[in-house]
């Protein structure tokens, strides 16, 4: 008991400068085991330390205190304490012990899920993510947990605010898989299909040695979203996808591949029959909702195609070509699409004719120029980044030793270095 009080005074004394905190960190690491030995004694001590000023010490106490399984009632009392700490702790201090912080946050997430109110976790988790991040490009282990809470509480908008950052630095590949998968689901929920495709594409093409369940599920959603958004799907993966993905993904997603093939035939009746016969499979994957969206997107894509070929077309003809039941139904579809800005057309109800117009965008407005300008700026930043990365890579000793002396490492070169192709692949020696 005495040692703990000692510790408290040290924490109070050593929370000022960076050097002090580093010193304190060492002390805490040594004391960690004894803290875990008697977690019950800690509850009174917690009040003596200020979570904002003495974040590192508080973190160690809290971590030891919350260790082990908890009941629902305990969770209820713990959640406010944890939330308060996460919200007001000092980012610099907790970065001394990121793994402790991560495990505290994960426990917090588990508690929130235990009492089945994920919404309570969303805001603290967002704060936690922001505090743990060194830069906005950094993907932390907490990202996926935060997105999961967003999905469960259906607060997609908050999730999107984090998804808008471009991420490049990754701690654990598994985090990336989950982050992109959950992110894809959030974007699908918000009907931002382009972004969703990008995220899911990242999962499918990420380097992996063996196939994993996240990639498989992501691929299924990727197929569906690609059909909804583009109206087509190419079954071949890009060549930078890992060989494990190239070989195995398709075998796990057979019903979806067939769905895409049936879709491409453009025959809506056949497609519907296929969906109905395989309803159970899609339902088991919890993708039935998406599949239904695919069905309705088929009408849209067919109507869109008509705008390319016709100037005027009667509603009856539209109904016939896209296999809708009646001109009335066709009118509803066309109307909806005009409203959504997906086609440009006018309906003449007197003689039941639809007149398709050209895209009125003339690319003359200031907004358009600004948009292009910002796009150029963004791409310039990106290519600078690319160059920096390339340079960094070209004097990375590990990379050089692999590329220049491949015969030294007994292990055959297993990485695809196509992405950094400035150094010759083989160097004659």
């Amino acid at each position: 008991m005495g040692s703990i009080e000692n510790l408290v005074t040290q924490i109070q004394g050593l929370s000022g400068s960076v050097d002090d905190i580093a010193h304190l960190h060492n002390i805490l690491k040594i004391a960690d085991e004894s803290l875990h030995a008697e977690p019950s004694a800690l509850s009174s001590v917690l009040d003596q330390v200020d979570p904002a000023k003495h974040s590192l010490g508080y973190l160690y106490f809290l971590e030891a205190f919350t260790f082990g399984p908890v009941s629902k009632e305990q969770a209820l009392t713990l959640i406010p304490i944890l939330a308060r700490f996460i919200n007001c702790c000092d980012a610099q201090q907790i970065r001394f012990a990121p793994d402790k912080f991560v495990s505290v946050c994960k426990r917090f997430k588990d508690h929130v899920l235990l009492i089945e109110s994920p919404l309570r976790g969303v805001s603290p988790m967002r704060a936690a993510v922001r505090k743990l991040q060194t830069t906005s490009e950094h993907l932390t282990t907490l990202h996926p947990d935060f997105l999961l809470l967003c999905i469960l509480s259906k607060s997609y908008n908050i999730g999107l605010s984090v998804l808008e950052d471009d991420i490049f630095d990754v701690d654990q590949p598994r985090d990336l898989f989950l982050y992109c998968y959950y992110g894809g689901m959030i974007c699908i929920g918000q009907k931002r299909f382009r972004k969703a495709l990008e995220l899911l594409h990242n999962v499918v093409t990420a380097p992996m040695n063996t196939i994993n369940a996240i990639a498989v599920e992501a691929y299924k959603k990727y197929i569906l979203v690609s059909l909804i958004h583009y109206g087509q799907f190419s079954t071949s993966l890009p060549k930078y996808a890992s060989s494990a993905a190239q070989r195995n993904l398709k075998n796990f997603c057979q019903p979806y591949i067939e769905l895409a093939t049936t879709y491409s035939s453009g025959k809506i009746a056949e497609f519907k029959v296929y969906v109905d016969t395989n309803r159970e499979k899609f339902d088991n994957d919890k993708n039935l909702g998406l599949v239904k969206q695919v069905v309705s997107s088929m009408y849209k894509h067919n109507i869109q195609r008509l705008t390319q070929t016709y100037l005027t077309l009667s509603l009856q003809d539209i109904a016939n070509t896209v296999q809708l039941g009646s001109p009335k139904e066709a009118e509803m579809h066309v109307l909806q699409m005009i409203q959504d800005g997906e086609i440009f057309a006018t309906i003449n109800q007197k003689d039941g004719m639809v007149r398709f117009l050209e895209d009125p965008e003339q690319y003359k407005t200031c907004q358009m120029i600004e948009r292009i300008d910002s796009s150029i700026q963004r791409i310039m930043t990106l290519s600078r980044k690319l160059n920096a990365m390339d340079e960094l890579m070209s004097y990375d000793p590990l990379y050089l030793s692999k590329v220049l002396f491949p015969q030294v490492g007994r292990e055959r070169q297993r990485f695809d270095f196509d992405d950094f192709d400035t150094v010759p692949q083989k160097f004659p020696i």
């Binding site: 471009d166 490049f168 990008e198 990242n202 390319q308 292009i372």
Partner: protein, 440 residues
């Protein structure tokens, strides 16, 4: 399109057959004249092909089929191929009376003779081989090839001919080896062999005589036709010199060169190419004279008389379907020609009245609309249909807008690709570091 063709087919059948006839025409094929264009095995093969087609399709063409079988029977009996003989007799099924029954005695004598000849050839070849006289060995293998070929063992014949290659001393020998190999491979339907031996023959150092060149062009053309490379096929047939005459009628008749070449050219060439390489081609004109219909339809096509051009095509169709090389490609070629015609028709206009166009193509407005729709979707015609007023309006692409659109799209694609690339690179690096630190 379909029902129309059937009308032509029927129309073709009803006309009275005899008249001074060009070989391929709207009237029913005259097998005898047709067969007289060819000799040797291709004659038999073509006759049998016709017989098969007529048999299968249960058209009112049975007489034609029987006629073809009868002539095949006679032709085979001149040769030594008992295997084929049995097949044909089986196909005749006694429908041609007593004269065309199974002739077991003939078969037996021929087989026995073949057996003896084979033994003799083997002995000869062995003695040549022990003496190591190159020329004689080559001759020996060649004889073997001829022997197998005559008896219908095409695979063996091919092997024997190819084996002579090691004993060829002059380029003349090489040419003759190649020609034999090509002949056999065409009959086997191995058109990859045909292409490779044609190029081999063309690579010989000595200048080839014009007849051989023409033969090689034909063989190459056939090979391209078979692999559906119609443009290349057309080029080869068009390059064929008039020296060909009837020198290559164990494979192809000059009439065929005109038909194959003409149709492939129509389907794959653009207007200037058609004018320069077909209509103004003096060499090819000689061939076209042999088949006036093809000449007429090419001219009609060029001068935009599409209705009459399509009519000629329709008339030709039933007979082309009986052609051993062309039958598979008739539909594709016809479709392509029709599409070409449609595209060419719309090209010069800003707006086209669909009713007039339908008239010119002898089809209904609705049908035409469907065809045009397919072509527009394929981006082969840049136009849009006003289906209310039945007018086709040409659509002039707005370069500026298109450029803007493309720029924005390319930008966002680049953006996305680079970002995911950086991410992947970082992941690989991470994995790399992890491995390295584990090793330490």
């Amino acid at each position: 399109m379909e029902p129309e063709d059937e009308i032509y087919e029927n129309g073709g059948g009803e006309q009275p057959p005899p008249r001074s006839k060009p070989i391929i025409s709207g009237e029913q094929l005259d097998v005898e004249t047709y067969a007289s264009l060819y000799r040797d095995r291709t004659k038999v093969a073509r006759l049998l092909f016709i017989a098969d087609r007529c048999d299968n399709e249960a058209m009112p063409l049975e007489a034609l089929g029987m006629e073809a079988l009868r002539m095949a029977y006679d032709e085979i009996k001149k040769g030594e191929n008992t295997q084929l003989f049995r097949e044909v007799v089986g196909k005749i099924r006694g429908r041609l009376g007593d004269k065309y029954e199974m002739d077991a005695a003939w078969c037996e004598t021929v087989d026995r003779r073949a057996e003896q000849k084979k033994e003799k050839l083997e002995n000869e070849l062995n003695s040549y081989r022990t003496n190591l006289i190159k020329e004689s060995i080559r001759m020996g293998y060649n004889d073997f090839g001829d022997f197998h070929y005559a008896h219908g063992a095409l695979g063996d014949a091919f092997k024997s001919y190819v084996r002579t290659r090691d004993y060829c001393t002059t380029s003349k020998h090489i040419i003759s080896m190649c020609m034999n190999a090509i002949l056999v491979s065409i009959e086997m339907g191995q058109f990859t062999h045909v292409t490779s031996y044609v190029s081999k023959a063309e690579q010989t150092p000595d200048a080839l005589d014009p007849i051989t060149v023409a033969k090689l062009r034909c063989a190459a053309g056939l090979a391209h036709l078979e692999t559906k490379k119609y443009k290349l096929a057309a080029r080869k047939f068009l390059e064929t010199g008039p020296e060909l005459g009837s020198h290559y009628n164990e494979v192809i008749a000059p009439q065929d060169v005109a038909t194959y070449g003409g149709l492939c050219a129509l389907a794959s060439f653009d207007r200037t190419e058609l004018k320069n390489k077909v209509i103004d081609n003096l060499n090819f004109r000689n061939f076209l004279e042999l088949v006036p219909e093809v000449r007429e339809l090419i001219n009609d096509f060029y001068s935009s008389h599409y209705a009459s051009c399509l009519e000629y095509l329709g008339n030709l169709k039933p007979n082309l379907l009986l052609d051993i090389h062309l039958h598979d490609h008739v539909e594709t070629l016809y479709d392509q020609i029709r599409h070409k015609a449609l595209i060419q028709y719309t090209h010069p206009f800003v707006s086209v009245d669909l009713r007039m166009m339908a008239n010119a193509f002898k089809t209904s407005v609705a049908g035409l609309e469907k065809e045009l729709e397919a072509l527009i979707t394929d981006n082969q015609i840049q136009a849009r249909i006003d289906s209310h007023n039945k007018i086709l309006y040409a659509r002039h692409a707005d370069q500026r807008n298109a450029t803007f659109q493309r720029v924005l799209q390319t930008g966002s694609e680049f953006d996305r690709d680079v970002r995911s690339m950086l991410l992947r690179a970082n992941l690989i690096k991470y994995d790399h570091n992890l491995r390295a630190s584990r090793k330490l």
